[in-house]
Amino acid sequence: MIRDRLREVSGQVIAVAVALILGAIIILLVGESPVRVLMTLLRGAFGDQEKIAGTLLQTTPILICGIAACIGLRGGMFNVGIEGQLFLGGFAAAWVGFAMPLPPGIHMLAALALAVVAGAAWVAIPAYFRARYNTNEVVSTILSNYVAVLLTSYFTIFLFKRPGGWSETPPILPTAYLPELFSFSRLNWGLVIGLVLALGAALIFRYTSWGYGVTMVGSAPKFAEYGGVNVKRQGFVVLLLSGAVGGLAGGIETLGVHHRFMEGFAPGFGFDGLIAALLANGSPVATIFTALFFGALRSGSLLLEVDTSASREIITVIQALIILSVSAQVLVRRRGDSQAGERRWKF
């Protein structure tokens, strides 16, 4: 058991190492020194306490989106629409924040609640069609991302633009702010919420029969159906929950960091979260570490743009390479398996 776990972790580590070597080659190709890029990334991510707080600030949305992805992946669903749920959740929270004066505390909770509802509502149609008519959820959720981003931009610029502002809503009232953890950073309670969610999700998957059913549907749907799980209804619920968490990530980003909604307020966090969850093999606790890794990359990349000639998108390249090499190592680890077996990820 422990040896299996060790082999699994070492496999992921080797895959990451392979990806980093490939990444170094690409950095050489774009005319920059890999060592300098690495040192800059490390300095940008962990240089001093403000930098570390900055890394954790970037980790928070990746972690929460990662948990959203984990919930889907465990149940055999690819929710690629987390990005869109994040945007709608972010807008919904901002709307409650600036348009609805409420007492402190309650205001924040109401805003987060609406963010959750918005995220779940946004995925509801793809989820319904996936559960009822088996419509491919990968495509429908990806396409709905584009609609979500354009729709929130429309709300922001045409309906709720701050007078004199630049494609942003009015600021939310201070009663809806998520409290900050330290005085020197915008790092806020969102990180704590993320950690609690990760542990909560892990406990649910491990100790409840519902969580066991979800994992069964994800890994052996026929077996689960035979065992009495309502596969269709559960698929719907899983996607809805995943969307709700995605919406929450957006709400936390709005209430904790930006204190308003603006165009392109959290680009790519949804996809980073999905990648973090894939690298963590669908385990919420492991997602904490992979999200931290990607948060550090993101935070370090801000300095990369300043100090080197490489662009910060080079980290996206590295992330993609990591996922590719992780997906390739499935074969290495399962060489003993029959070649006729169906292709799948490792859940």
Partner: protein, 328 residues
């Protein structure tokens, strides 16, 4: 009615054909992988890589056609990596496809910064666009309707000619048949001695070829520039079309014309003063609606499946314990 008159005219139909071409090419490319039984969500990335390297090649060589060749080569590299991971390594196709899309997005932006030192887009810099082909005699025969068949870039003609060619390919050639057998009944293919691996590699590479052409059309066709993520979801729309057309070239054409029309008329609606953000959602909403509506139409099969699973459920009920509970 007046708006309709302004909307629907020769110019709009010509614009529809123009905007249909890239999505048609990429969807026809995807039809190879769909028919071979591979779910290829990586079309978007192949198209984007094709668009970027087409611009690069066009600047380096000063020739639009050499640019197209570069774009196709880049898309083929992406297709090859996809095939190696999915066919040989049996990795999950959704994961590999998404990762390659992300790779294409990050790589094109990084290279753009490294080579041109700019962010956002490459404009000018000596990009040579594709020439427009004026069919001789078109104006004499068709008069004001001539723009419907004349004056497009060569890639547009390739896209539309590819449709009947693909119909013939799937129905009349050995390779086309092999691809269909591998997709529909892999066991049968294996029994016949067809190499599933080789056929799927060929299908993936053919797909990369057309996706690269589609990308080149985006950046060298009617606008000669490259912008970040300029494929803007066309690859995903193509996948949506492939799902409900099952990769049949004629159905693919019908679906793509629908999207081309949505795309072209959304550009027109913007000029009528509708908010651009809402208008830009039109193609995506059309894609989603078609996807949902056509899967709803496929429900008789699903009802049959539901009946079957209910029968199974009833028969398992009899096998459960005396307390009537399910074993799980």
């Amino acid at each position: 009615m007046e708006i309709l008159d302004k909307l629907v005219n020769v110019a709009l139909i010509a614009a529809t054909l123009r905007t249909t071409a890239p999505i048609l090419l990429v969807a026809l490319g995807g039809s190879f992988t769909t028919k071979a039984g591979i779910f290829n969500i990586g079309l978007e990335g192949q198209m984007l890589a094709g668009a970027f390297f087409a611009v690069l090649g066009s600047i380096w060589t000063g020739s639009a056609f050499a640019g197209v060749a570069c774009g196709v080569a880049a898309a083929l590299v992406f297709a090859l990596v996809f095939a190696v991971l999915v066919v040989s390594f049996r990795a999950n196709e959704v994961v590999v496809g998404l990762a390659l899309n992300i790779l294409a997005g990050g790589m094109t932006i990084s290279l753009m910064k490294a080579i041109f030192g700019t962010r956002g887009s490459i404009v000018g810099q000596g990009i040579v666009g594709l020439p427009k082909v004026q069919l001789p005699g078109a104006r004499a025969v068709l008069g004001s309707w001539a723009p419907l068949i004349s004056g497009f870039t060569p890639i547009v003609y390739v896209a539309f000619i590819a449709v009947p060619l693909l119909v013939l390919f799937y129905n009349r050639t050995r390779l086309g048949l092999y691809i269909r057998v591998v997709g529909e009944k892999p066991e049968a293919a294996e029994a016949l001695g067809i190499s599933i691996t080789r056929v799927r590699y060929i299908a993936s590479l053919l797909c990369g070829l057309l996706a690269g052409l589609a990308g080149a059309h985006l950046s060298l066709g009617y606008i000669t520039m490259f912008t970040e993520n300029m494929s803007s979801g066309r690859g995903f729309m193509a996948v949506a079309i492939l799902i409900f057309s099952n990769g049949d070239p004629l159905k693919v054409l019908a679906g793509c014309l629908l999207f081309g029309f949505a795309d072209a008329s959304s550009l027109r609606l913007q000029t009528f003063g509708y908010p651009s953000y809402l208008v830009l959602t039109v193609p995506y909403v059309v894609a989603l609606t078609a996807l949902f509506a056509l899967s709803y139409r496929a429900r008789p099969k699903i009802i049959a499946e539901t009946l079957a699973s209910m029968q199974r459920l009833l028969s398992t009920d009899r096998n459960t314990g005396p307390d009537g509970k399910h074993p799980l």
